[in-house]
């Protein structure tokens, strides 16, 4: 009963100054809403990155030329003998527990078809490519080993290329020109969306890597080799086997290649996302602290401003503890109320952001709890000193206060 009447007193005191109460809570609302929104954005980005890493394929191991991650000095382009198609063949022949493998050569070229121009990525790959990348051909078919061996002028195109060059027709069986070479379209890839690095994966024309090297880019090196290990537990051993094999093939020269597993890539990417989430949460946390200081400030001012009120309460029979509890409850009510509204605003704001900006947001339930508890805690911390000050007042002095 003692607590209920103090609660009643605190509620009445808040109601007496609705405007001030609302403004005080506003600091908390903004702080908590900022935290929830920022964490939601960061979390959404992290989830998206993870989805994109998964979309690269399963049990994937990539071999890249150059030694960009071997610490210290970097070789720079051309300073190393790069990856060759023979490396890829050797891996396929010698390394066990491989489910699929595809070399990859890249170039950016103008294509012409159907009377329309389009600048796109021309990727030379092997027949396993759709399988390795977990990226099936939606209609038509992928080119075969035979077509790779014979340097055939055939291609499989991505969704964006279809939209740009064959807006209203079935592209399969038609011809598109890369430079002035005609390539017959065998199939269309299923839509893939954006890559980890923000590029449109569907803006692509796949051709046999042999045709790419001889006819389109006229180069002898390949850009990368993608390998799919048979089972997740094979990844490590395949990685080691590939490294050994390639080192052996280079006969004692400095390794000029780099073998990475998908997990390593994923870790790097989600570490980035985590840093970003942390940064955003940190910025938002500052506004939460500012909100808390706002509450403390208002409570301190209101202790001075309400000295007479406190004097009246003490003179009428309130104990110091009653006044302390009252001011503390006021601060906690203000901050928790602000916190709850802030959670609602933050969740709503996140949904709006994702709706209108298309940003991936993921409202973390844990952070809703953290914010609610945190705001109550801020209330206790920021309310305690002013409440203590109020409770220490002498009734006669407080009544004399002008």
């Amino acid at each position: 009963m003692r607590f209920t009447s103090t609660l009643l007193v605190a509620l009445r005191a808040l109601r007496r100054n609705t405007m001030r109460s609302m403004l005080t809570a506003l600091g908390m609302i903004i702080g908590v809403a900022a935290v929830i929104t920022m964490v939601s954005i960061g979390n959404g980005a992290k989830a998206q990155v993870e989805a994109q890493v998964a979309a690269m394929g399963q049990n994937l191991i990539t071999v890249m030329p150059g030694s960009f991650s071997s610490g210290g000095s970097r070789g720079g382009y051309g300073s190393s003998t790069s990856l060759t198609p023979e490396d890829a063949d050797a891996i396929l022949a010698d390394v066990k527990n491989i489910d699929g493998l595809s070399p990859e050569v890249r170039a950016r070229k103008q294509i012409l078809a159907n009377g329309l121009n389009w600048s796109t990525n021309i990727n030379g790959v092997g027949p396993d490519y759709p399988y390795v990348r977990n990226w099936p051909v939606a209609s038509g078919s992928m080119f075969t080993d035979q077509e790779v061996k014979s340097l055939a002028k055939v291609c499989v195109i991505g969704k964006t290329v279809v939209d740009q060059v064959f807006p209203n027709e079935d592209p399969i069986g038609q011809t598109l020109r890369i430079g002035n070479l005609p390539f017959r379209i065998l199939g269309v890839l299923s839509p893939k969306g954006f890559s980890l690095f923000g590029s449109d994966e569907d803006d692509v024309v796949l051709i046999p890597y042999t045709s790419h090297m001889r006819r389109v880019s006229r180069q002898t090196n390949i850009s990368m080799i993608r390998i799919q290990a048979a089972e997740p537990e094979n990844i490590a051993s395949v990685k080691i086997a590939v490294e050994d094999l390639l080192t052996q093939r280079r006969r004692g020269r400095e390794p000029d290649f780099n073998v990475r597993t998908q997990e390593e890539l994923a870790n790097a990417a989600s570490a980035n996302a985590k840093t970003m989430t942390g940064l955003l949460a940190g910025i938002a946390g500052v506004s939460l602290i500012v909100g808390g200081i706002g509450i403390m400030n208002i409570m301190l001012v209101s202790v001075t401003e309400r000295t007479r009120e406190i004097g009246i309460r003490l003179a009428i029979g309130a104990h110091g503890r009653d006044v302390l509890t009252q001011f503390l409850i006021e601060a906690i009510l203000l901050s928790s109320l602000g916190g709850l509204i802030g959670v609602a605003v933050g969740v709503g704001g996140s949904q709006l952001l994702s709706h209108y900006n298309g940003w991936p947001v993921l409202v973390p339930t844990m952070w809703i709890g953290i914010s609610a508890a945190g705001s109550a805690f801020v209330g206790i911390i920021s309310g305690f000193y002013p409440a203590y000050k109020a409770a220490q007042l002498d009734p006669i002095d407080a009544l004399r206060y002008e």
Partner: protein, 259 residues
């Protein structure tokens, strides 16, 4: 006769806060019995408020003893004093001291939210507060804020608040100080009614005619009681009120006739 409700013996108050200590009350001894109605008078600065604050347990005496209802005030701590103020005393402040932006009813409920009444239900508290507003004739203004009430009405709300815990003694520091003479009579009427019901009242006033509504007059000079006498031919507020009303009606008639 039963023992006095207030017994003070050679009480002193020295304010040490300024550069020179001020000896505001210099040895006052006083017995107040149940049912008394005392006016405390004296020039400005004579120590009336200081004495009242000590009687009201708001301030402690520097020297001397104060027994309230047989309890030695000096032996109580801060919280026990607060409980004593809550239960045995009603204080009507100079300048009302109502909570702003709080209805008359909630102002009157306030003392019941502290102390022993805390065990009562909110309905009981409300009922009791309304009853006290009725005593001072303001039941119909229960939902008004102080700034929607006249000075006399605010003073009556303050009196109702002082009454709500059925105190042994009602202390009022210049309850009519800010009021015009008609409203003063109104307030004195309330006091007389309460006193007739057996409540002990001590009030400070500067006005001789207000003091004449009381039963006993004390005059303070430089912190000592220089006169302590019963009132002969005491004024009765109800009669005075009637006379004022008649005068008003007469004035209205004459002004009406002039037009």
């Amino acid at each position: 006769m039963s023992s006095p409700v207030v017994q003070i013996k050679d009480i002193h108050k020295i304010y040490e806060s300024g550069e020179v200590p001020v000896h505001a009350v210099r040895g006052v001894s006083l017995d107040i019995h149940r049912g008394e109605f005392i006016a405390l008078m004296g020039a400005s600065g004579s120590g009336k408020s200081t004495l009242m604050n000590m009687l009201g347990c708001l301030d402690r005496q520097t020297k001397g003893t104060y027994l309230l209802d047989g309890i030695d005030i000096d032996k109580l701590d801060r919280n026990e004093l607060a409980d004593l103020r809550n239960q045995k005393l009603g204080f009507v402040f100079q300048g009302f001291n109502l909570l702003a932006r709080t209805t008359a009813l909630e102002n009157v409920e306030l003392p019941m939210l502290y102390g022993r009444h805390r065990k009562a239900s909110s309905e009981e508290i409300r009922e009791r507060a309304l009853h006290c507003l009725e005593i001072v004739g303001l039941a119909n203004r229960a939902d008004h804020m102080p700034n929607q009430l006249s000075g006399g009405q605010q003073q009556r709300v303050a009196i109702a608040r002082g009454l709500v815990n059925s105190p042994q003694v009602l202390l009022a520091d210049e309850p009519t100080g800010n009021l015009d003479s008609k409203t003063s009579v109104e307030v004195m009427g309330v006091f007389q009614k309460l006193n007739d019901q057996g409540i002990t009242i001590v009030m400070v006033t500067h006005e001789l005619d207000v003091a004449r509504y009381c039963k006993r007059n004390l005059i303070l000079r430089d912190g000592v009681v220089v006169r302590d006498a019963p009132v002969d031919g005491r004024s009765i507020a109800a009669e005075e009120m009637l006379r004022i009303k008649q005068a008003e009606t007469a004035a209205k008639l004459t002004t009406a006739a002039q037009h």
